[in-house]
């Protein structure tokens, strides 16, 4: 049984009690993914599984046999930071930085959802295409809390990359 984390094949834990979050941090020493509440309330542990954003604290690692996990460590390339990483710096999208890996993974997942037309609670027309307005981004990112209160910068960073397409 094995998982693929940022493209590398890694073993699953032998104890089925180990969450995906603890496996990433303690087992694989990928400490970019953060443990906030450890009960599904804060979003700090958000990672991408086959491109979909999930909470790794509520996931048992053994459930992800053969799946592709992407963490914050897997986003930058040899050319530099992921555009969202650069935009968070440019737009002051963090203060302490603890929620940032989850925010950025969540925003990448959100972009894919919006692109395939998944509506949100604030979408007027359930049958229409999605425009990532400020209100839409705020609603779609509501599962990621920032106790420093950097939400305005976070939304601006996401808008800059996903809406305005500004290369960061």
């Amino acid at each position: 049984m094995s998982l693929f984390v940022n493209g590398a094949q890694v073993p699953a834990p032998t104890d089925p009690r180990v969450s995906l979050l603890d496996h990433l941090r303690e087992g694989l020493h990928l400490t970019g993914t953060k443990k906030g509440c450890n009960q599904g309330a804060c979003g700090a542990c958000t990672v991408l599984v086959d491109g979909e954003r999930i909470l790794s604290c509520l996931a048992l690692a053994v459930q992800f046999d053969g799946r592709q996990i992407t963490t914050i460590e897997g986003l930058a390339s040899e050319e530099g930071l992921h555009p969202l990483q650069a935009a968070f710096i440019e737009h002051d999208g963090f203060q302490c930085g603890y929620c940032t890996p989850g925010q950025i993974c969540s925003a990448i997942g959100m972009a894919a959802e919006a692109q395939r037309g998944v509506p949100s609670h604030v979408t007027d027309d359930l049958g229409g295409t999605i425009t990532l307005t400020r209100e839409e981004i705020q609603e779609r990112m509501s599962g990621n809390l920032c106790r420093c209160g950097a939400h305005n910068g976070i939304v601006e960073a996401i808008q800059a990359v996903l809406v305005e397409g500004v290369p960061a």
Binding site: Q39, G43, A59, R116, P119, S120, L126, S142
Partner: protein, 329 residues
């Protein structure tokens, strides 16, 4: 977390065989069960992962939909047929939890999340008859703003937190289950229990039974549906109250109306008295408020939640007047 053995079920028969063992539990997205296990409130010693079971949404011969239990909440909310024909269901799902949790959670798991309150979770600090039968209920005399006003008992005043289930109650869904005694179907409104003197039991499912699918009947021609949720913050919070409604008019008269409330009871509350009061009527603010009053005639508010009947009534009036004008969803 207590030790357990993990197995991934190949199909429903495999899941049922493994689930027949005492102490076994089925695992969907884990968004409630894993959390409860971490708090050692749930202590299964066998976990049977059923996320690999079929996850399709299929058209049925009667014009409805058959939704496999392993379908993820996001997949159901975004399905074109659900968005087009059952907007109340899309809207309810999208009003619940966060995007990450909706991506994980399965339909079957959403139905089987625990009816609960904060005292249920406080294993070290609070008495709870749902967690430990016979221990008492600290919510009844405690902070009970989110608690039930209808159908509660001395033993338990918790509410069922699902938004999706409120829509399914209004849609007259049917739950397909499989178990040692064979397959059966349960009308959605009968799946969840009122607490009575057994608040540790949330549903009528028997030991080892597995939800395999949810069937949605076709809605009457011209029926409109909507969901509205009222909560303490704009997103990512449980409902204080919510309303799901399906309305069919002929001219301006109500031919058929189906209403369910969230946040008011131990189960999604099908408002049959309000429905009866509304049939044949023309929707006005006062007509709806009177119908809601009929539903809440036997409400038993607690110290902090006496606002709920009036809040539901106003929310229902807003939903139905919007639907009657063709403005909602």
């Amino acid at each position: 977390m207590n030790p357990f053995q993990y197995a991934r079920a190949d199909d429903a028969a495999d899941a049922l065989r493994r689930g027949a063992i005492s102490g076994a539990a089925y695992l969907g997205g884990g968004t409630n069960l894993v959390d409860l296990m971490r708090e050692t409130i749930a202590r299964p010693d066998q976990l049977i992962d059923v996320t690999g079971l079929p996850a399709t949404i299929a058209e049925t011969d009667d014009g409805g939909l058959l939704i496999d239990a392993a379908v993820r909440n996001t997949a159901l909310a975004e399905h074109p047929a659900v968005r087009m024909r059952y907007p109340v269901l899309s809207r309810a799902i999208l009003a619940g939890a966060s995007a990450q949790i909706r991506n994980m959670a399965t339909v079957g798991g959403n139905l089987l999340q625990r009816t609960r309150c904060t005292y249920f979770y406080d294993a070290e600090g609070a008495r709870c008859n749902k967690r430990t039968p016979g221990s008492g209920c600290d919510a009844r005399e405690g902070f009970n703003r989110i608690h039930a006003v209808l159908g509660a008992s001395d033993a338990c005043v918790a509410t069922h937190p699902s938004d999706m289930c409120v829509a399914l109650a209004a849609l007259d869904a049917t739950v397909h289950v499989d178990g040692a005694e064979g397959q059966r179907t349960i009308p959605f409104a009968d799946l969840h229990r009122l607490p009575g003197d057994q608040p540790d039991r949330d549903t009528v499912l028997r030991d080892g039974e597995l939800i395999t699918a949810i069937a949605l009947p076709a809605l009457p021609t011209g029926a409109r549906s909507a969901y509205r949720k009222v909560r303490d913050r704009a997103s990512y919070a449980f409902a204080l109250v919510s309303v799901a409604a399906v309305l069919q008019l002929e001219g301006d008269r109500v031919v058929d109306v189906r209403i369910a409330f969230g946040g008011v009871a131990h189960k999604p509350w099908r408002a049959t008295k309000a429905e009866a009061a509304l049939r044949g009527q023309t929707i006005t603010q006062q007509v709806v408020l009177d119908a809601a009053a009929a539903e809440f005639a036997e409400a038993r508010p607690l110290r902090d939640n006496a606002f709920k009947p009036a809040l539901v009534a106003r929310t229902l009036a807003a939903v139905l007047t919007d639907l009657a004008r063709g403005e909602a969803a």
